[in-house]
């Protein structure tokens, strides 16, 4: 496809460019949270409940206090007066949603294994850990609720003051009669139930916090390994009851987030409260085990999806019903995660009638919240798995069932049955190209040959076509969903006297390469060298306005604000240049960093001359302010809707149950690309993260609510040895939502890959009568599915 809309003409945007972030990261020069040198800082370590559900009795800290280096021990009750409010949940999705009080340190009852019940303050991280060993807590264990149905039954009510474990019921059923009629008249009616296991986000850098107080003037600087310094500043100030202007939040180099650092956590509040009490810096670095037990987890839901279709397999209705696990408490945006998928259970298919309902419940497990994709991987999984079931019911190929149902290109912008407007799309070419990349026909033939030969090594081919909504988000839409904040982003562009450029962004990178991409955008527009553009971020004192990084929003929202701010600067520069050239501003061309008078190419002034003139202000047009600087806050009018098709080829060993990934092709469309190198990297990592849900990762809890995979030895984050080279290609369908024509790409790989792999696994085993395999498709799970189907034993 050719792009129909691309505002970039400078030759920089769209060309792969090596990252300016790399040298510092490659040499150890970057400072992550634990690298900060804070003389005199005290360390904390948390005493965490070993029980999933227990009343907290007496806490005896005497042995801890007698330990060398231990300065103090605080229980939840000791700190209760330090909080102006509980830990925040910013997304009360319904008016009657239950939101149990969630204190940074539990009082009265611990509600999951890992809930902090006391905090040890000590002079070093070693002595803080020693101190934890010396705190004796008298627990009265209670029955743990770990199963979703058990939770919904209210057999044991976890939060007595809520009176129920049901957090909320949220329906999206625009036309119930149409849905009922469609199912009544359906020729094919497919009903599928899928389970999304709990996942541990596991960025390689665990979380960390350092709170640095200034006791005499009341300032507080909070360093945190967070995705959201701006949100954290507002929420932190409110929760502590401190004046917001006195709190500065800095995210140093952040070693990945994947959603789990999109939160306001107990340890951030505890460090600030104790820094206030002790008058010195207080810090904490998470252990990997704590990252597993006490940081948010993702997915955790059961879905039932029903498809109604006519005789040709053309969809007439989709009905999805979820039961979602919030965990023990509501973290920052947890209730909204199912809603982010709620609009997409019909995928990229043209469906007239739609119904979605979600019930969310509390359990005695770690809180859940946004994890890469947040709601959209779940939705895509449901519809893409179900489409394969429909293909079988109709008796057509997995490719054909999709082609018959893709939203036709001429229907864009598409009014979706769930009430969205899909901005742009052209789906069939992504399927066609992905099929080419995996040699679809050859693989089909190979599969048939293996089956005919009775091979025990079964070949499976799985398709996943997806569309997602990202670029969070139009503030008015967020208001309609009861979200507690807006979806805008801010950028400032400042041309310095020497024509070097400073950019301030409210977007907060943690591996995405904003400094490189943002430089490219501005350099392309201004005609300067990208290395002459410095991008400042992640410090609320430098970048006071921001909504931070999540939901594949940085480029389409923050990048657009940046593009607009740069245009604004160019407009001002143009007026100054016109004054300098004694010409009309409308008569000036601007290209390659130089203003020229149309028709008089010898009359020109470089941007550098304008920048210096704006700085000296000796001869500016009447009434014009000195300097070249502009700030823009942009609120998008719509989401953006990236799409694509991924195909996985797997081999399943009937005898061992082992699944091997043989080939993987991804054809994605994120509109215009700024830096194709970064797009590729996002897809590689995203795809592997989704494959990992399909094949390896599982936060396994036992019936007592104990996490059995609480470290990286037991929780199988894939290594290079399990992964393969992926084949990537692209189509380009610019988004009309923003002037750059861009869409997000940070989550697409994860959204697409899980169902591609699971469709391939099921495709391999379908001749045995197997229609579903629970994730992760470990050798044991696959063998059990084979045995349950009466296969080889």
């Amino acid at each position: 496809m050719t792009d129909t809309m691309n505002p970039f003409t400078g030759g920089i945007v769209g060309t792969p460019r090596l990252r300016k972030e790399d040298p510092a990261l490659l040499t150890g020069e970057s400072k992550f949270i634990d690298d900060l040198n804070l003389p005199g800082a005290l360390w904390i370590s948390c005493v965490r409940s070993p029980h999933a559900h227990a009343r907290i009795g007496a806490i005896d800290a005497s042995a801890a206090l007698a330990t060398d280096g231990v300065v103090a021990v605080y229980t939840g009750a000791d700190l209760e007066g330090d909080w102006a409010g509980p830990l925040p949940c910013a997304w009360p999705v319904t008016d009657d949603m239950k939101n149990p009080a969630h204190l940074p340190v539990a009082v009265g009852k611990a509600n999951f294994a890992g809930d902090a019940v006391a905090v040890v303050v000590a002079t070093s991280r070693y002595t803080a850990a020693d101190g934890v060993e010396g705190v004796v807590v008298d627990y009265e264990p209670l029955e743990a609720v770990v199963d979703l149905d058990d939770a919904a039954s209210d057999r044991v009510v976890i939060h007595e003051d809520c009176g129920t474990n049901v957090c909320y019921d949220w329906p999206l059923v625009p036309d119930p009669d149409a849905v009922a009629a469609a199912f009544e008249n359906a020729v094919h009616h497919v009903t599928e139930t899928y389970v999304h296991q709990r996942l541990i986000p596991a960025p390689m850098e665990p979380r960390g916090v350092a709170a640095v107080p200034a006791p005499h003037n009341g300032d507080m600087t909070l360093y945190s390994s967070t995705q959201i310094p701006h949100v954290l500043k507002v929420m932190g100030a409110l929760t502590l009851g401190m004046p917001e202007q006195k709190l500065r939040v800095i995210a140093p180099s952040v070693g990945g987030g994947f959603g789990c650092k999109l939160n306001v956590y107990a340890e951030e509040l505890v460090c600030m409260a104790l820094a206030n009490r002790h008058g010195v810096p207080v810090r904490w670095t998470e252990t990997r085990t704590e990252a597993a037990t006490s940081t948010i987890q993702g997915r955790a839901q059961r879905q039932t999806i029903e498809l109604a279709a006519d005789a040709d397999g053309k969809l007439t209705a989709v009905r999805a019903t979820l039961l979602a696990d919030m965990g023990a408490y509501l973290q920052l945006v947890a209730p909204g995660v199912p809603l982010l998928g709620a609009f997409l259970y019909h995928g990229l298919y043209d469906v007239p009638a739609y119904s979605f309902t979600c019930r969310s419940v509390f359990t005695n497990l770690a809180p859940t919240d946004a994890y890469r994709g947040a709601g959209r991987p779940e939705a895509t999984y449901a519809i893409e798995r179900a489409m394969d079931a429909l293909a079988v019911a109709v008796g057509v190929g997995q490719d054909e069932i999709r082609s018959r149902n893709f939203i036709p290109t001429e229907k864009f912008p598409y009014d979706s049955p769930a009430g969205l407007i899909f901005d742009s799309g052209n789906y069939q070419p992504t399927l066609d190209r992905a099929k080419e990349l995996v040699d679809w026909d050859g693989r089909q033939a190979e599969q048939a040959e293996r089956r005919a030969a009775g091979s025990t090594l079964h070949l499976g081919i799985g398709i996943s076509s997806y569309v997602e909504m990202c670029g969070l988000a139009p503030s008015r839409t967020l208001a309609a969903l009861n979200y507690g904040a807006g979806g805008w982003e801010s950028a400032t562009v400042r041309i310095l006297p020497t024509c070097k450029v400073q950019v301030v962004t409210g977007s907060t990178p943690h591996g995405q390469g904003h400094e490189t991409s943002w430089s490219m955008i501005v350099a392309d527009q201004l005609g300067v060298d990208p290395d002459d553009v410095e991008v400042l971020h992640s410090d609320t004192a430098i970048s006071p306005l921001g909504m931070d990084t999540y939901g594949s929003r940085s480029l389409s929202v923050g990048g657009t604000a940046l593009w607009m701010a740069t245009e604004k600067v160019i407009d001002k520069a143009r007026a100054i240049a016109a004054h300098m050239l004694e010409a009309n501003a409308d008569d000036l061309d601007f290209a390659g960093g130089t203003f020229t008078v149309k028709g008089s190419p010898d009359k020109e002034v470089p941007l550098a001359g304008v920048a210096f003139g704006a700085f000296t202000a000796h001869d500016l047009p009447d009434g014009m302010e000195p300097n070249l600087e502009a700030q823009v806050t942009w609120d998008p009018g719509n989401f953006v809707f990236p799409f694509g098709t991924h195909i996985a080829v797997v081999e399943v060993d009937e005898e061992t149950g082992a699944v091997e990934l043989l080939d993987y092709a991804a054809v994605d469309d994120c509109g215009n690309q700024i830096n194709p190198l970064i797009v590729e990297g996002q897809l590689h990592g995203g795809i592997v993260q989704g494959v990992a849900q399909a094949l390896w990762e599982d936060a396994v809890y036992d019936a007592d609510g104990q996490l059995r995979s609480a470290n990286l030895a037991d929780y199988l984050v894939p290594s290079a040895a399990e992964c393969i080279d992926m084949k990537l290609d692209y189509t380009v369908t610019p988004s009309p939502t923003n002037p750059m024509g861009v869409k997000g790409i940070g989550e697409a790989g994860t959204i697409a890959s899980t169902p591609a792999v699971m469709n391939a696994v099921v495709d391999a085993l379908r001749p045995m009568g197997i229609t579903d395999v629970r994730m992760p498709a470990s050798p044991m799970t696959v063998r059990r599915a084979i045995e349950a189907a009466g296969g080889a034993s």
Partner: protein, 150 residues
């Protein structure tokens, strides 16, 4: 106890508790914070350094165990003439994103390339099994290590 180590060519010493891990000795006592910590179980490899030329997970060694040894950390890799070829390859192949696993991954890769002459992609994948990366999906890391091995 006094632990003395030649780190990146310079002899350094510090008085530490006997239980001090090498990684904490490097980071907290010597101020070499380029070596990161990613887990509690020697699984992730973020803390990989070279001890007497071979890769080792510095969270799995006590500082006392390397008393007298030569240790190379990520800070010691780049020379006056710029990045080490492995660092340069990681840069050129876009083999890092958040960069947290990177120092350990680079050190492990340097050791791997030093140890094996005819590395292919499969060899790199198996050879780096002890180093986890959550961002890149490994494809560009494999590419970088192969490029640097040539």
């Amino acid at each position: 106890m006094e632990v003395s180590v030649t780190v990146n060519g310079t002899t350094r010493s510090a008085d530490v508790e006997p239980r001090t891990l090498l990684v904490h000795y490097l980071r907290d006592d010597l101020g070499l914070t380029g070596t990161n910590i990613g887990c509690d179980t020697s699984s992730c490899g973020a803390c990989t350094v070279l001890v007497d030329g071979r890769s080792a997970k510095s969270c799995t060694l006590l500082a006392a165990q390397v008393d007298g040894a030569e240790v190379t950390t990520i800070e010691g890799l780049a020379g006056d003439d710029g990045l080490h070829p492995m660092q340069q390859a990681f840069h050129e192949c876009h083999a890092l994103q958040c960069g947290y696993c990177t120092p350990g991954m680079v050190m492990a890769a340097v050791s791997l390339v030093d140890e094996y002459d005819d590395l292919d992609a499969a060899g790199v994948r198996v050879g780096l099994e002890g180093n986890l990366c959550r961002c890149t999906g490994y494809q560009n890391i494999v590419k970088a290590v192969l490029a640097a091995s040539e």
